[in-house]
């Protein structure tokens, strides 16, 4: 499964990505997780299973939803507290829940 995280500049989000990957490996889940700035969703996110926005990128929510709807990809914003604590487990759970509710 492919999880796409959208951020503003990409620096702290990549830390979140590596934490999520650690949790995924521990649980035996095969996941391709990437972090990109909003402008790159057109090139990188067409095959995503879920798109999650970092809180500082929340202003792009409308644009990303518009992009994602023909592909039926669920989109949501990560809660500030979870993002601040770089809680890889919580974000991964959020992604999994969105995918299963599709």
């Amino acid at each position: 499964m492919k999880i796409v995280l959208v951020c503003f500049a990409g620096m702290s989000t990549s830390m979140l990505v590596s934490r999520m990957e650690k949790v995924a490996i521990k649980r035996g889940i095969e996941a391709d997780i990437i972090a990109i700035p909003a402008t790159e969703i057109y090139d990188e996110a067409e095959d995503a299973d879920v798109i999650l926005l970092g809180p500082q990128a929340r202003y792009t929510l409308d644009e990303v939803k518009k992009f994602a709807s023909p592909y039926k990809i669920p989109v949501d914003v990560i809660d500030s507290r979870i993002y601040g604590m770089m809680d890889g487990e919580a974000v991964l759970d959020m992604a999994l829940e969105l995918i299963s509710n599709k």
Binding site: S12, P55, Q56, R58, Y59, E63, G84, M85
Partner: protein, 446 residues
Amino acid sequence: MKKFQDFLEKKFAPFAIKLAGQRHLAAIRDGFISFMPFLIIGSIFIIIQDFPAPGWQELQTQLFGEGFNQFIILPKRVTYDLMSLYIVAAISYKLAKSYRIDAFSAAMIGISSFILLTPITTTITIDEVEHIVPKVITVGGWYGTNGILVAIITALIATEMFNFFIKKGITIKMPEGVPPAVSRAFAALVPGLIIIVTMLLVRLLFLQTSYQYIHEFIYQIVSVPMQGMIANNLGGAIGTVFAISLLWCIGLNGGTIVNGIMRPFWVPLQEANLAAIEAGKQIPNIITEQFFDMVWIGGAGATLAVVLILIFKAKSKQYRELGKMSLAPGIFNINEPIMFGLPVVLNPVGIIPLILGPIAITIVNYVSMALNIVARPTGVIIPWTTPPVLQGFLITGHISGAILQIVDILIVALIWWPFISIMDKRKVAEEAEITTNNYNNKSVKA
């Protein structure tokens, strides 16, 4: 306080969010960011040429010969001093990309447009006689940092025109079966031609005026007043720091947004500092972009001090964890873990030190540089992620810069201390409640 918070969320946030997402501002911002690596590379060679160690200049000539000094600075010349050419291409590219049109052609057209608006002759003096040399692109001058504003305007206008023609189908359409690269090139032909003719007309127009070139016009009308407002202006510096902090209050990366807008105006300031050093003169400007980089110790809010307080003084488990986790990013001036984890964003207790801390050290830094107690930024560009203290040393080329940052950390720590104590007490109480609930539940189960 509640009124301020409401204002932030209801009036300021939507405006700031619109500003951050605005297509042209984003293209300018992203264009400059993509050029940063080149400026940093150029800076490495400035630092090599001019390393602040006594005796280095003599050692250079001894080891490598007389010509070394001018040779080693070449990477700076082809980056800093040709900046406008790169920037016009970069911004055209980014804007075209956001429109989902042929960004490469847009970049190429941007470059031609810029050169069409810029002098391509230069004057040299030999034996007191002035000669005009034709067909010359100068390293520096309007092709360097002085041409930045025109580069930005040209990139935006040329790419808007390009987008207009492409979207309206005013292009040569190749038959099916022609490879996409060829069709794209031919599609760019008619728009490119119209844009180039337009730029030619603009050049002609300005040649009829006393300004001669659009560069001189923009310089007089915009650059000179702007420099007056922001260079060596403590009020302007405080305003900038305040604006950036305010944006962080609502969780937007204030630095990226504000720097994106201010950078074109800051660049000539550091250029002037570099030129002064090369000419052996006093450094004129206290304010450059790097002055602000020095203020953001650990990121916006100067939060490295916060991280240190959390690690050594926090009583709640959550905050000790947060401190440990935020140390590595904090050393590289990345503050998101603290911003969203403490949290500072949308938290009234966090907002006050977030705004006051940086303003306090801005004043301290500015005054100490104005009084020449601390060396001013040399104008060299280093990555904003350079760890504090080392960063202060590299930016000012002097130990006083490093010491200043240590003093700054102490000042900021004092300002944040009472607020963190309040938040920490709350966390401790929260954690105690959870433990009590767990204990009660266990008792009930038993």
